[in-house]
Amino acid sequence: MIDFEALAQAIFDNAVSALGRGAVVVEGRAKARAPVRNIFGVQHELVPNKYIGDIEALRASRGGEIGKDEMMVKVKAPTPLKAGGFRSSLRRDVIHRREAMAERHLAEYKAGIEGKPVLDRRGASEVKTKRALYVGTKKVRKGIGASIGGRLRGEIQAMSPTMSGRTAEVWVISPTEYAGFQEFGTRHNRAHPFLRPAAEESQDEVVSLIADAMREASRTGAANMEIEIVVRL
C-alpha cells in the first residue's frame, strides 16, 4: 500500500531542496558574470575560500589525507578547529593578499614602471584613499582588514527557498546599491547585466536538478511506480 500523501510530501521536499541548490548554481554564475573594475586586475589570482566543512568532508572522503594545494593555509590537523576562527583566518589571508597586491600595484604606478601599469590614475587614487574598500563583515568594519574591489560580486547571494502553500520560490539577490545601475544601465553607463543572464543560462540545469531530485524521491517512495514529472520555471 502506498501512502500517496507521504510520497507527495517527500517529492515536494526534495524538489525544494534541489531548488535551493539551483539557486546556488545561479549565484555562482552571477558572481562569474558580475563586473569587477579592471583597475585592480588581480581578482583571478585569488584562491577561492574553502570553509572548514568543505575541508573536513574532503578529508573524510580521502581517509584523512588531503593535498596541500587544496587548502589555502596550513592547518594543524587533526587538532579540533573552531569553525569561525578558521574561517576568519582564511578571510584575513585573502584580505592581506589583496591589500598587498593593491599596494604593490600602487607602488608600481608611483614608480612609473615601463609598460602598462595595472592601476590607472583613478585606480591608484582609489587604492590610496581606500575609497574602493569592500566592507563585508562586522569584523572588517571594526578595522581588522578590508578587501579592495569586488563588492558587487562579493554581495551576491542565494537566499533559502521559501514556501507558500504548494509553491516554492527562491531568490538570488544582489543587495549592493549600484547593482541596478549595472544590471539595467544608466544615461552615463551602459548596462552590464549579470543576474538575468545567470538565471537564463542556469534554467536547464536548475530544471534537471529539480527533476532528478523528484525522480529520486519517487523511486525511494514507490519502487514500482512510474510518475511523470513536469517541472515549470
Partner: protein, 150 residues
Amino acid sequence: MAGFTLDALIKKPVLTSAPVKRALVQKLRASPSLVAAIAGGIHEGIAPRKVRYPFVTYQLVSAVYHRQWGGVILETIFDVVVYAVNPVDANNIDALITTALDEAVLVMDEQDSMLCRRVADLPTGPDTDSQGKRIYQVGGSYSTWAHQTL
C-alpha cells in the same frame, strides 16, 4: 554506387544574436510614428553624450542556445529603453515600442522568427544627465526565439 556530395556534410554556421539584433532594429525603424517620435535615434548600449532627447537604446542581455535534432533555437533577451526629459514622452514612446515589437515577426536570413514578446518592465527611475537635466528612463525586456535548421 551511392554518391553524396561533400556539401551535405559541411556544417552550416550556427546563428548568432547579430541577425536577431538587426531584425529588432529594423522592426523599430519600420514604425513611422516611432521614428518620428525619437529625435535622438536608436543606439546600441549607450548613446553619445550630445544626442538629443528622446532617444532609444537597446542591449543584449542574454543569448542561450538550445540545440535539438536538426536545428538550434536561440533564445535572446533584449532591453529596449527610452530616455526622455518628459515622463509622458518616455511612456508614450515605450508604448510605441511595445506595439512594434510585441508579438512581432522578425525578418532574418536563414532563420525563422518564432517569437518576440515583451516579458518585463524595467525597474528604472529618473536620472540626471551631465548637464543637470532630469532624465526619465522607461523600458522593457523583450524575449525573442529564433530557429535555424542545421
